[in-house]
Symmetry: C2
């Protein structure tokens, strides 16, 4: 068997993919467009937050040790202004949540513990502690703290921090540009009725959705005809304009599988076949200016499983994410699973039982072309090769794709 | 204390929110734009898949029971065509992965187990089973099966199924239209330097990112000034053009809190304050043609926690998702947590230990204004009110916001 036909362990394959990844360039985007992007530089606090001691309740700003039976109201302190009020024993000021503490005061008594008389107020709280109902300067952030590391995805909290620290623009990694080509003469468009021996193209749509959900910009997505010259030209053009080119179909051993021949000619092919199921064929190559080319099989389940394991990992590495590899956890099998001769990624549902224990079951028939096995799946159950069946109650590694929850 | 000031249990509040939700209208979108949307009608298989017995390997189509020592090659069967080949004992045809099985044949022998001679082929496989290396008709899907239920999010597998079944267009729920208003005179834009007592607006940005990630279309997002007349006009206009209006700030007890007064006047207010922390204030109202109005506090952590618990749930219910409430699981506390007088949603990290057990820890200081407590959090730890502290090793419910994994 020629070297390029040996079945490569998926972990080894992943290492090869990661060794070929190049970090994407950095670009600057307005804050309002930074959501979901990957931060390219550590976010460092350039000031203390809050920059002033701020009230956490509506109430009255007082001196904690002041024992006056009532206090004269000498002003109102709203959020957003500094009124120049100076609190002295026997005086107080109304203060609103978020407002800066007036000079002289060191605590806030919440309005519910006070009683308003004409021009003064009575405090109905026996002991007022210094700092009560106040957020001290720097209690949220200290100047110089690393708040969010480069490589983090910018979610709601991160964008809130960026905004509060005055970042009207943000340095992020450019979104990876993906081209997605489905190949195969047997494919027709979804709105066409398949003739004898034909099927509708689905991979192009599912891979596009998967790529976009992973943060890629899909710059081209279409059906390439099974004509070698046209296909070569198309692939070359897509390589020139993309960071990642994905083909599906045309990588098995049939005579009309042009993708394999074209990649041999125009690219450096790093591996072809994997010791895994579904998804034995995977042509991985690099070409042009470092573009990654993934030749996925036409089987829609294999294509999506390989996307999840290899392409999503490459995408995370391209944008400097700290743990690019798929994250695994351990779960208890709920049912018998047959032994396997290759590492098998069963599509499954992982849930949490009442004792907080992860439990895993598959989604039924794992026939490799059965797209239904992915519907409702939130995980892959990673079944290591062995002859004997796995019994219910055994522990297997799982790759969680979605949040888990209790059964319901 | 007036009735509207009682602290409502979050579970009760959630029931009230859900009782006010109206299902959004359905719209038809092209398949290529359906990713991430919510399916509005069950997807039913209208045919068997595959519609023909298909090869799962490259090889030769044979009659399993044929014991001929060698076979004449009478044709090539590619995917995408029907060649009209008829296999009889002593004959075979080359066949490619995905290609339909020629008439007469009932198995495929993979190419690795054959040896090619001039015009015939020798099968080096002692026993060939009927159906070997074939996917039978209907093995993926049976006509009439419910494949994906209405209310499901359309991910890669779902879009693949839609494509293979010929759905060039898909009925989905319209995306909910959100307007997001931040209020407060103390707020300045991110590119401005805050003056004394001022802070930069962050909620508008974080709530917009949260809403978009949840599938909403944010039709308006801006800073509303603290002028009662202008604010009333703006809120009325946003109610008329939105399914959900979110305000942040202006719902505590201060004199300048106009949102509360305006909602009293133009909307039906269902509740105002919750028995939870962070996030005691939450004005929930309905107005106009069923628009939901959420008056969130200005505190950025409270605003995001309330968004996650209440607004995201409302959004799921609007689009007919089957389990709109936040999904909980059980996890073991890794550290001591102080008792609490209100239900506390601590921001935390849930991971899976080597025994497959969920473990939970918080993200450090849970001071309610500390946006940092949300950075890196993948869960809320739900701490029920009690005086005694929670010990390490106790079990608490958690709401998982992101996939969990093993510690690394």
């Amino acid at each position: 068997m020629p070297a390029d036909e040996r079945l490569l362990h998926p972990d080894e394959a992943l290492k090869i993919v990661l060794s070929q990844v190049r970090r994407l360039p950095v670009e600057t985007v307005p804050l309002a467009e930074a959501g979901g992007r990957i931060l390219a530089a550590d976010l460092i606090a350039d000031q203390d937050l809050p920059p002033f001691p701020a009230a956490t309740m509506d109430g009255f700003a007082v001196i904690a040790s002041d024992v006056s039976p009532w206090r004269e109201i000498i002003g109102d302190q709203f959020a957003g202004t500094m009124e120049g009020i100076e609190i002295t024993p026997g005086t107080t000021a109304r203060i609103m949540t978020g407002a800066p503490l007036p000079h002289g005061a060191d605590a806030v008594v919440q309005v519910e513990h006070t009683e308003l008389r004409e021009d003064h107020v009575v405090i109905h709280q026996e002991i007022v502690a210094e700092g009560e109902n106040l957020r001290p300067v720097g209690s949220d952030l200290r100047k110089g703290d690393v708040l969010v590391s480069a490589g983090s995805r910018i979610g709601p909290a991160e964008i809130g921090l960026l905004a509060s620290l005055g970042h009207a623009e943000v340095e992020v990694y450019r979104r990876p540009r993906f081209s997605i080509l489905s190949t195969g003469d047997e494919l027709v468009e979804p709105d066409q009725v398949p003739g004898p021996g034909q099927i509708r193209d689905s991979n192009r749509f599912s891979l596009t959705v998967a790529a976009e959900a992973a943060g890629a910009e899909v710059v081209w997505s279409g059906h390439a005809p099974d004509d070698e010259t046209a296909l070569r030209e198309l692939i070359l053009k897509r390589i020139a304009e993309s960071d990642v080119v994905i083909t599906s179909g045309g990588v098995s051993m049939g005579d009309k599988d042009f993708v394999k021949a074209i990649l041999n000619e125009i690219a450096t092919v790093h591996f072809r076949r994997l010791f895994m199921k579904p998804g034995k064929p995977l042509n991985f190559a690099t070409a042009g200016d470092g573009t990654l080319v993934f030749g996925l099989p036409g089987n829609p389940v294999s294509a999506l499983v390989e996307f999840e394991i290899f392409i999503r990992t490459a995408l995370r590495a391209m944008t400097g994410q700290q743990h690019p590899e798929p994250a695994t956890a351990s779960a208890i099998l709920e049912h018998w699973v047959a032994g396997t001769d290759r590492i098998e990624y069963q599509r499954g549902i992982v849930s949490v039982d009442e004792a907080g224990q992860l439990r895993a079951r598959n989604t039924g028939s794992q026939a490799s072309a059965r797209l239904m096995s992915l519907v409702g799946a939130n995980a892959f159950l990673v079944i290591q090769p062995r002859e004997a069946a796995y019994e219910a109650g055994e522990r297997v590694p799982v790759i969680l794709l979605q949040p888990v929850s209790s059964e319901r």
